[in-house]
Structures are given as structure tokens and as C-alpha cells.
Amino acid sequence: MLSGAIGAVAYFMPAIVTAFQDTGHAIDRNLATSNPSATASAAASASASATPPPAVAPPGQPFTVLLLGSDNDAKFGGTVLTQSMILARVNPTTRQVVMESIPRDLWLPLSSGGSAKIDAAYLHGGASASVATVEEDFHIHIDHYAWIGLLGLVNLINQVGGIDVVATNPVMDDFYPADLTGKNPYAYERVAVLPGPQHMDGMQALMYVRSRHGDLRSDFGRSQRQQQVLLALRAKAKLLGIADLPDIATAMANDFSTDMSISEIASLLPIASSVQLQNVHQVILASPYTYTGHIANEDVLLPNWNFILPETHQYFPAV
């Protein structure tokens, strides 16, 4: 019995190492109190809610995950922003999923104090600050987060054998950062993803979700493509089981972190594989939810909360 357990432990060792290093990171919810205006808004919304939600939804109950993606290549020297933020609401019983992309240029109060583009929340306090900022500004509760870096995404997609994507249009970019392929992280390379159905490896998929210069919609087009790739990965979940986790964990090591435990991640696999496409609702916060502005010499997106909050609270319960 003991030897069998040792054999099993040896097999799952990469996943166990990942579990210790990259999963189970607690969200520091105290970060929510450092911004006076945010605190006031949080207090106001808290007073409207009779009972605060539990920190984490009980098993089987709908839960909300904040998915974070960062350009964490060499040129950022450890000071990373989140270029991608997707709120996902998963109902394990009805097998329904809602994905809402939050534009990275959205200018709003940060939980760590002051106002900035929302992509800076991660810079000022990691995933906890990103979670706290979204919770306060959107008046919702987030149960979990998952953060992934550039190579984490590339390796994850390669590990599952690539993904099948219907490219919406030719994705063209003459100024795509060559930060993963060359010696100079400030260099550029050219991207041309041809339209239509195709099989993409990790690097091709990264180009598809990361490129934005040649798209009239800029970051919104990128958000749509990011949701597409997430759904394509969902399709690959059908091919995976718990025995595949060690390889995936090894592939994503150091470029992934989450507050979920390894068993919680494993329990998501059957849910992801059984969600039907018609049960996935996608939200992109383009106009009229947001509008362009110029603050502190930066082009930013300003929130129209009168539109954003009712839309968000249709799917993500208000607190």
C-alpha cells in the first residue's frame, strides 16, 4: 500500500510541486481598504447586501474566476501589468459560462490607491490587488483568480496538442513584440494570421490573441480573440484527465499562479469539457460601456458605469 502511494506520489510530483508553488495562493482581501473612494463605494455596496458572500463559493455552487494574462517578458523586468482580464462566471449545475473581458485601458480607482488603467492594479499588489480592484469597482465578489504569463499560455497550448481556431479575419501586425523569439526584447516581428479555421500551436495562438496594431478595434478585437482561444482550450479539455495534470503543470511551471487548489483545478476539467457552446455568453465592454479619453498624457478608456454595472450584474451577482 505504502509503495503504491509512493509510486502515485512520484507520478504526480510535478503537479504537487506546482500545487505548492503556483496554486493555493490566498487572495489578500485587506488590499481593498487602501483607497478611500473605493472603500466608500465598497461600504455602500456592502450595506446594500444583508449578508456578505463567503470568500469562496461552496462546491457545486456558481463561482466567479478572474483570469489574468500578463506580458511578462524580459523587458518588463518583473514589473508586469495584466494585458488581459476576463471575468468568468461558471455554473457547474447548469453548465453555463459567462465571460466578460475588462479592457486593460479602463481608467478607474485602484484598490491600492489612486486611479490608473486597470492593468496597473497587478503592478501595485499582484493578483490580490487586481481582484480587489475589480470587486470594488464592479461591485461583485470574485471567488478565485488564475494568472498566466506569455510562456505559460504557449506551453499550455502546446501541451494539449495545439488548438483549433476560426480566425475571424486576417490578423496583421508589423509591430508585434519579438520578445520571446529573439535576443532583443524590444525588437519587432511581423504577424500575418490568415483567416478561417486552422490548427494553431502555442506561439501562433499567442500571436493571434496578443496582436492589436492592425485591428480597428485594437484591444477589443484582441479581447474577442482571447475569449475565442479560451473556448478552443475548453474543447481540448475533453481530451484531458487527471493523469495529464503533471505534464501540464510541468509545462506551465513559473508562468502560472492561482488561489485554486490542484483538486479544484482537476474538478474543473469535466465541467469545461461538458459546457456547450450555446451555454457560453460572451461580453466585451466596448462602446457604449466605455468611451475614449485622455488622462495624464495617456489614451484611456473611461467607464460608463450606468451601462457596465447593470450588464455585469445580470451575470455576476452584485454585492
Binding site: 483549433d164 501586425d173 483567416p195
Partner: protein, 355 residues
């Protein structure tokens, strides 16, 4: 002594059992197919013999399918990835794209894969100005065997981020990029997949972005830079047009209403520049790159056979008729390049050519 042997045996048994458990769990691992796990086409035989000669691309090489056998053209990988072959009417030559990291070029090849000549020079040697490189894709030959149509990322202003394809035409024996035919919508990706029509018109997929969504419309360009005739709607989101040899039917790939996760293969009549009501021939698929048989007896297209995502060749007999046959999977365990439409020559066997 006896006790020591017992302990050693026990330890060995425990080690063996532990190793067995380890391997048992490992055996539950799913075998996820990779690029390396597929066959090369020449190692397989198609399920049916298709008429004429098909040229198809897989993993950066081009293969000829004729008389039920694949032949590898053994094109040089040193130049880049070979794709999008287009047979040259009235000859046994093909034009193909070589895609390098920052640019792509068109080459003229003979039927055995020997390079006759490079048709374009889109490479820029200065590493710090990668935007001076250019892309050329989707070569299609006119019926005269000399006029060539293709998508080219010109005109381009290097001070802006806009990089969009436009449809161009030229000649094999003269200037390649001689005529700009279409005005593409900036910051959309532009105009791709030109299909020559009778009388000098050209059909292609025109990309646009409106209401936050990118979509494609199939249009006909009657003459250079004229306002194109739009055949399909934004809601249909159709592209990859394939005109039947007699010009009366249009096969196309439509995405509208699929949630951008699947496609439909549709066929519609085309009469005097007007499209009839499309019929869905294959639904909820990853169908791509339809091409009609030269004799009009059916069409081929790419689709995945299962969730592994490898694109196989499929055939629909009688796709011109009101009741086409069910789709038949022609190849197994191959992985064709889905963005590289097959090219279908009417010639059934290709003799060795020398130039």
C-alpha cells in the same frame, strides 16, 4: 541471512508495486496528437481515387495527389514553408507561396517541384525595419495561364500600423504586381482569396469591421478599383469563395451565427452576378478551403475528423445537384494546412518534365 533475503525481496516487491502503480497512472494519460504524430501523405493512400491532380500543402511541403497516389514535391525547407499551390492552366506548372518569418514570396515550379523562377522579392534585408517586408498569399491563375491574381499587403504606409491585403493582378511573363484591383478597408486585414471569373472580373473575400465585429463578405470586382458587387451579408460572414467550373455555383465557408467556434460549408447558385439562397451542405464543422473538381462532379474541402484538430481532405460527390452525396473522408491521420486551399488541375497524370 534468511531475514536479510526476505527484507530485500519485500523491498523489491514494494518497489515493483510502486513502479507498477506509477506506470498504471501514466497509462491513463491521454495520447494527445501532435504534429509529429501524423503521417506524411506519401505514407498513406486516399480512400477514393479523385479525378485529375490535386496539389495540397502539409507541414510546409506540397504534395501531388493523382491516380490515387500522393507524391512529395520535396520542396526546399530552407526557403520557408511552402503553401497555397495554384496550378497554371495549359501547362503542368504550379505557382506556390513560400512563407518565411517576415515575408512571403511566389515561386513558379514545374510538376516535379523544381523551381523555375522566383516571381517576387518581398524580403527586406534590414533587420531593424521589418515593416519594409511584404506578404503575398492566395495566388490564383486566370484561364489564359498567364494572368495571376493574389493578395498583397500593398499599398502600405510604414508610418501607420495599418497592414491590409489588397487584391492585385499581373502576369507570369511580365510584371507580377501590375494592377491594384481592390480598395481594402483599413485595419481589417483586407481583401483575400481572389477567384478569377470570366470576362476579367475577380471574386474575393472582403473583410470589414462594424459594430465591434470583424466579418467577411464575398464580393465581385468587375474592374480595377470599381465599387464591388456584394454577394453575401455581414451576418452570414462568408469567405473562401470557390466558383464551380461552369461559373453557376458558389461554394463558400460561413461563420455567421456559430459563435466563432465552427463553420458551415454552403453552396448557392450564381446567376448574372446574383447569388441564390445558400444551401448548407455541411454544418457545425471546421470546414475550410472548398475547391470544385475540374469536371464539376463534386468538391473537396478540409475538415477535422475528430477533436484532435488535424485537417483531412473530404469529398462531396454531386455538390452541384439538389441532393449531394454525404461527405466522405478521403484521407486519414494527415494534417493538411487548412489555410492553404487545394488546387485541382484537370490533368490526371503528370509526366516528368524537363526545363
Amino acid at each position: 541471512m534468511r531475514r536479510a533475503i526476505t527484507v530485500i525481496l519485500l523491498l523489491a516487491l514494494m518497489g515493483g508495486f510502486g513502479f507498477g502503480v506509477n506506470r498504471l497512472i501514466a497509462s491513463r494519460k491521454h495520447k494527445i496528437p501532435t504534429e509529429a504524430s501524423v503521417f506524411i501523405p506519401t505514407a498513406t493512400r486516399p480512400k477514393i481515387v479523385l479525378p485529375g491532380t490535386l496539389y495540397l500543402a502539409q507541414n510546409g511541403d506540397i504534395y501531388r495527389l493523382s491516380d490515387g497516389y500522393f507524391t512529395d514535391l520535396h520542396l526546399s525547407a530552407a526557403l520557408g514553408l511552402w503553401m497555397q499551390p495554384a496550378y497554371v492552366p495549359n501547362s503542368q506548372d504550379i505557382v506556390a507561396v513560400v512563407r518565411a518569418a517576415e515575408y512571403s514570396n511566389l515561386y513558379l515550379l514545374n510538376s516535379q517541384g523544381s523551381i523555375i523562377r522566383r516571381l517576387s522579392n518581398n524580403a527586406n534585408v534590414h533587420l531593424d525595419t521589418v515593416y519594409l517586408n511584404h506578404w503575398m498569399f492566395y495566388p490564383r491563375m486566370g484561364a489564359d495561364g498567364n494572368t495571376i491574381y493574389f493578395s498583397y499587403d500593398q499599398p502600405k504606409d510604414s508610418t501607420q500600423y495599418a497592414v491590409d491585403f489588397s487584391v492585385w493582378s499581373g502576369t507570369l511573363n511580365g510584371k507580377l504586381a501590375a494592377k491594384l484591383l481592390s480598395n481594402s478597408n483599413p485595419f481589417t486585414g483586407g481583401d483575400v482569396e481572389p477567384t478569377p471569373m470570366a470576362g476579367g472580373a475577380v471574386m474575393y473575400s472582403k473583410y470589414a469591421i462594424s459594430g465591434g465585429n470583424a466579418y467577411s463578405e464575398i464580393v465581385i470586382q468587375p474592374k480595377p478599383l470599381a465599387r464591388p458587387t456584394v454577394l453575401t451579408t455581414a451576418a452570414q460572414d462568408c469567405g473562401q469563395p470557390a466558383l464551380s467550373p461552369d461559373g453557376t455555383r458558389l461554394a463558400m465557408i460561413c461563420i455567421g451565427g456559430t459563435g466563432l467556434q465552427s463553420t458551415r460549408l454552403e453552396v448557392a447558385t450564381l446567376t448574372a452576378g446574383k447569388l441564390g439562397v445558400p444551401q448548407t451542405v455541411v454544418n457545425n464543422c471546421l470546414c475550410a478551403s472548398p475547391v470544385w473538381a475540374p469536371d464539376g462532379s463534386g468538391l473537396v474541402y478540409y475538415n477535422t475528423a475528430d477533436a484532435t484538430g488535424h485537417f483531412e481532405l473530404w469529398w462531396i460527390k454531386g455538390a452541384l445537384t439538389a441532393a449531394p452525396s454525404p461527405p466522405l473522408q478521403v484521407t486519414t491521420n494527415l494534417d493538411f494546412t487548412a489555410t492553404s486551399p487545394p488546387s485541382w488541375s484537370p490533368l490526371s497524370s503528370v509526366p516528368v518534365m524537363s526545363r
